[in-house]
């Protein structure tokens, strides 16, 4: 008799398993089964959406993907997008969290306004920014010309691939800063006020208190936000789809967008599956590194 069986013998445990069953079925149906299926597909050469017999190619899809220069270009864009958007969201989110934590009147109002961008679906956000940045009738051009910051209307998404990539970053930062801010706000509220009072008694200014108290005690929250946002940013797809379609000259093409094109536009489903698996492994690697850093930080804190 193994441990599990003995454990399941008690009535409360049996009820617990019963209650877990629906969730387990859902997880199996929409996560594990498709994931396993994709792994199988990535080892064949599936070139149509229908079931059937397809040639076995082993790991050839993986080697083909890794030796494709387009993949590395897209990976470079993804890396840039991930790093800049996460960094900007963290810095801006931290500032926003401090503001929202300040004892202001109508604080509830500000807090609800700030969460609005995050509540917007990403595809809507992408479409909105495409209109804002439109070269012919976009709001941004109008505002900047009226402020005399630029002489005439200019293109933001069409004529400079790197600028277009940065504009996609901007749109992502606008949306996700609020999420980061709310995580950090939650972290801030766990810091005991006495620490600040003690610091003030010792003659520390606001900046010093931020550096020596706020920041160190926020590290666990920052780490969690970092893990979440890095992984999310790495998988960026819909905002690119809505804003630029990967252009100009592939300047905003990211890994997941390239994966989508390979699978659905080119009907190279196996290449798409291989790419998806490589993305999963990369994200998994990132998560493990982050979690290890986080655990070390916790140990040190003890």
């Amino acid at each position: 008799m193994n441990k599990l069986w003995r454990g399941a013998a008690t009535p409360s445990a049996r009820l617990a398993y019963l209650l877990l069953l629906p969730a387990a079925l859902v997880v199996f149906g929409v996560v594990l089964y498709p994931a396993g299926r994709a792994l199988v597909i990535s080892l064949y050469d599936v070139d149509s959406p229908f079931p059937g017999a397809y040639p076995w190619v082993g790991l050839r899809n993986y080697t083909a993907v890794l030796s494709d220069p387009r993949v590395w270009t897209a990976a470079g864009h993804t890396l840039y997008f991930t790093m800049t958007s996460t960094a900007a969201e963290l810095v801006l989110g931290c500032g926003l969290a401090l503001l929202l934590a300040a004892p202001l009147r109508f604080r509830w109002l500000f807090r609800s306004i700030v969460i609005l961008p995050w509540a917007l679906p990403t595809i809507v956000n992408g479409a909105m920014w495409r209109l804002i940045l439109n070269a012919e009738y976009g709001v941004l051009n109008s505002v900047l010309t009226r402020l005399h910051l630029i002489d005439s209307y200019r293109s933001w998404l069409g004529t400079d691939p790197f600028l277009a990539l940065n504009m996609v970053v901007l749109a992502d930062v606008w949306k996700n800063t609020s999420l980061v801010a709310f995580f950090l706000l939650a972290g801030l509220s766990t810091i005991p006020r006495e620490l600040y009072e003690a610091a003030r008694v010792d003659g520390a200014g606001a900046l010093l208190a931020f550096r020596r108290i706020t920041l160190p005690l926020l590290v666990p929250t920052i780490a969690i936000v970092l893990v979440l946002r890095t992984i999310e940013a790495f998988k960026v797809f819909d905002i690119v789809y809505a804003m630029t379609g990967g252009g100009p000259a592939n300047g905003t093409q990211t890994i997941t967008f390239f994966t989508y094109l390979q699978a659905f536009s080119s009907q190279r489903f196996s290449v798409g599956a291989a790419l998806a698996y490589l993305t999963v492994f990369t994200v998994l690697g990132l998560a493990i590194v982050y979690l290890r850093l986080l655990r070390q930080g916790e140990l040190r804190a003890r």
Binding site: L4, I41, P49, P51, N134, A135, S152, S266
Partner: protein, 433 residues
């Protein structure tokens, strides 16, 4: 909670992996889903159809046609869905295994791919000879691959040159000079010199199929071809293909082309053109009706359509036709066939000629059709006689993606036109096999 402890996370993972593995072994085919071939059906019941929401017949047009069809066929109900052109192909592919749609609208560049992967049904036996002789050649090729029919042509379209006659007159340009691309450039220079608009020319050069359509039209004008005459190697990096890209780049360098063209699709071109922001633009038939509609246009009544200009060679327009097909997974193929036969019939097409001209040769002499679109029909009669095709190959989409990127590399000045097209040819050659 202590009695739950033995069921560790590790054990949960092991269990899940075991179950997942068993599930995979149980499934016999690689692709996923069940093998499910289509059925003829009883010619009655509900069918679903996938259309696009961009150029040609408007959503409103299609809904009216569908309502009339349902009235004539009380046993059949049709549920139309509309997506952007750029989502159409992928939606057809993704929905195929589930058999979501009975009828799909396909572009002229997809029959090779869709027929070889059996997404659409062959209908050669059902196509009467009268259609083959009664429809224009450009339309017929839309639904045909290797001499077999996979659908019925429904949209026969090509890009015409639209001009703002008010701006032309104020710059003293004779509209007759727009018959050649040299004349178009001279007109653009005159308009720019008078400072009537900053950039007289506007194109749909966004990284999308739209860019390849504009390029194709110019390849035709400069006498180029996409493939060698045996169809086995790439030819767009030499002769007319190269001249076309050099022409495009030069209009940008001379500041005659609006640089925003690189982020514009056809509808962006339409919006700018109808607000008076451009003097000359290539676009599909539907732009005329929109430009003459005073409720959405500032240039109503001062827009002319002319056949696409000639370059060093004649001026064939790009074949931008589309066809209606019955999907291979449809379980109601007979009813679907009645529906597409109705939509493509000459009577229906003639009645909605304002946004999209009919596929039928005889329609162009029908006074009702001419009256519906008096400005485009004369140009169409001339241009539809000869169209240039994008290559009819199974991996067209991939070749097009490569071409889009390299064309933009040249237009953005990151590569010379020759280098960009050579690079595109190198990447496209293995895709021809």
């Amino acid at each position: 909670m202590s009695d739950l402890q033995p069921f560790s996370r590790r054990r949960l993972l092991q269990w899940s992996a075991g179950v997942a593995g068993a599930g995979l072994l149980a499934a016999c085919d690689v692709g996923g889903g069940t093998s499910d071939s289509g059925k003829q059906g009883a010619g009655q019941g509900k069918i679903t159809a996938l259309f696009m929401q961009q150029a040609a017949y408007s959503e409103d047009d299609v809904r009216k046609m569908t309502a009339a069809f349902q009235q004539a066929h009380p046993g059949i109900t049709v549920e139309p869905t509309f997506v952007a052109y750029d989502a159409l192909h992928d939606k057809i592919v993704a929905a195929a295994p589930a058999g979501t749609y009975d009828v799909v609208l396909i572009d002229v560049i997809w029959p090779a791919e869709f027929s070889s992967k059996k997404l659409i049904t062959e209908v050669s036996a059902d196509v009467p000879d009268s259609w083959q002789t009664g429809m224009l050649g450009g339309a017929l090729s839309t639904a045909k691959f290797q001499d077999k029919f996979y659908g019925i042509p429904w949209i026969l379209d090509t890009k015409y040159l639209f001009s703002n006659t008010d701006l032309l007159a104020r710059a003293g340009v004779d509209p007759a000079t727009l018959a050649t691309w040299d004349g178009v450039l001279a007109a653009a220079r005159a308009i720019k010199a008078k400072k009537l608009v900053a950039y007289p020319l506007l194109w749909s050069w966004k990284q999308a199929e739209a860019l390849v359509c504009d390029y194709t039209q110019l390849v035709g004008a400069f006498g180029g071809t996409f493939l060698s005459s045996d169809g086995k190697s790439i030819a767009f990096n030499t002769g007319g293909g190269l001249a076309a890209l050099e022409f495009m780049k030069k209009t940008l360098d001379d500041k005659l082309t609006n640089p925003n063209s690189l982020e514009s699709l056809e509808d962006d071109v339409r919006k700018t053109f109808v607000s008076g922001g451009a003097a000359l633009a290539l676009n599909w038939t539907y732009m005329q009706a929109s430009a003459d509609d005073a409720s959405q246009s500032k240039v109503a009544g001062q827009v002319a359509a002319s056949p696409t200009p000639s370059g060093t060679a004649g001026g064939p327009g790009v074949n931008g036709s589309m066809a209606l097909c019955v999907t291979s997974t449809s379980r109601n193929q007979q009813a679907s066939w009645s529906y597409i036969s109705y939509l493509t019939s000459a009577d229906v097409q003639n009645a909605y000629a304002k946004n999209s001209l009919p596929c039928w040769t005889a329609s162009y002499d029908d006074p009702k059709v001419v009256a519906a679109n008096p400005k485009v029909v004369p140009a169409a009669k001339q241009e539809l006689a000869k169209l240039i095709e994008r290559p009819q190959v199974k991996r067209y989409n991939e070749i097009s993606q490569v071409l889009q990127v390299e064309l933009q590399n040249a237009l953005l000045g990151k590569k010379t036109p020759k280098k960009a097209l050579d690079d595109a040819a190198a990447q496209a050659t293995p895709l021809l096999a």
